[in-house]
């Protein structure tokens, strides 16, 4: 019996570590996109620069929303370890709403830029901007889908050991996205106005 418990814990640890290794490869991909942006950020092809196009108050709001969602995600995991199904669903729902607000704001910004003629084809700067920020946004969208599916699973099956394990990996993913955003906020938006 004890051997089976230990084996179970080892499997859980392996799952978490495996997911962590995946996150590291994702980090490497983002690093390449950051390097590309850093190299191309001043290649505006005569058009407007980051300073001209990107609003600071807007991105501060986005950043605070995403940071708060990372916090509420953490609270959801605490609730999961306490086997509190209602709180898990509550905190993940709030995380979802905050994440969806972030994504909506970002899509609004993209739409405005493209509508004004500053789409990804307009210059190397804009290509690298849309690729970097867009890839992050795509990850957020996938995370939101994952949260929705998880909410349904918690509702239908309750908080089994297996499900708590899955929720932990979701939380790692979500925290990771906030980590990447710190650098997008700094290197893309703040840097534009420095």
């Amino acid at each position: 019996m004890e051997n089976s418990l230990k084996h179970h814990q080892q499997t859980t640890d392996k799952h978490i570590l495996g997911f962590w290794v995946y996150l590291m490869t994702d980090l490497l991909m983002f690093a390449v996109l950051f390097a590309t942006y850093a190299v191309l950020r001043n290649n505006t092809f005569g058009g407007p620069s980051a300073r001209d196009l990107l609003s600071l108050p807007f991105v501060l709001a986005e950043t605070l929303i995403l940071l708060t969602s990372s916090f509420t995600c953490g609270l959801a995991i605490i609730a999961a370890h306490s086997k509190n199904k209602i709180q898990v669903m509550g905190w993940f729902s709030i995380t979802f709403l905050l994440g969806a607000s972030f994504l909506t704001m970002e899509l609004t910004e993209f739409h405005r830029l493209i509508a004004e003629g500053h789409g990804p084809q307009a210059s190397a700067f804009l290509s690298s901007f849309f690729t970097l920020v867009g890839t992050h946004g795509l990850h957020i969208a996938i995370g939101l889908l994952w949260i929705l599916v998880s909410l349904i699973m918690v509702w239908k099956r309750g908080l089994t050991e297996n499900l708590i394990n899955k929720l932990t990996r979701l939380a790692y993913f979500w925290h990771f996205l906030d980590l990447v955003w710190i650098f997008i906020f700094t290197i893309v938006y703040l840097n534009a106005h420095v």
Binding site: M24, A31, A35, G74, L75, I182, F185, T186, L190, V194
Partner: protein, 109 residues
């Protein structure tokens, strides 16, 4: 291990670091680029420790080891790219670019 304390501390610290960086830029503080980069790195560590509990797992710190390996590669990729591209920019003016392209594509006047 996740506790309320770790998430609350992590959240408050991250909040302060974010707002500090924001206002450093808004008031056009001197050396703001260096300041915001340092604040970003600090917030990275804060979130790694308080949200992701890196290095706090039971048993060998595999998470930490893999993280450090990846950071090393990331550093090489980013610093290397910036260095090489800056070098190319410096060494190749537009006329040189045209000459180089014509030569390598075997185009002659």
């Amino acid at each position: 291990m996740p506790t309320y304390k770790s998430y609350i501390i992590g959240f408050l610290l991250s909040l302060v670091l974010t707002l500090t960086a924001y206002f450093a830029v808004v008031i056009s503080a001197p050396n703001s680029l260096l300041i915001i980069l340092m604040l970003a790195v600090i917030q990275l560590v804060v979130q790694l420790v308080f949200f992701l509990h890196v290095g706090q797992e039971k048993g060998p710190a595999w998470n930490l080891a893999v993280l450090i390996s990846t950071f090393s590669i990331v550093l090489i990729v980013i610093v290397g790219s910036l260095w090489i591209m800056a070098n190319l920019n410096y060494n190749m003016s537009p006329q040189q670019m045209d000459d180089y392209i014509m030569k390598s594509e075997n185009m002659f006047k």
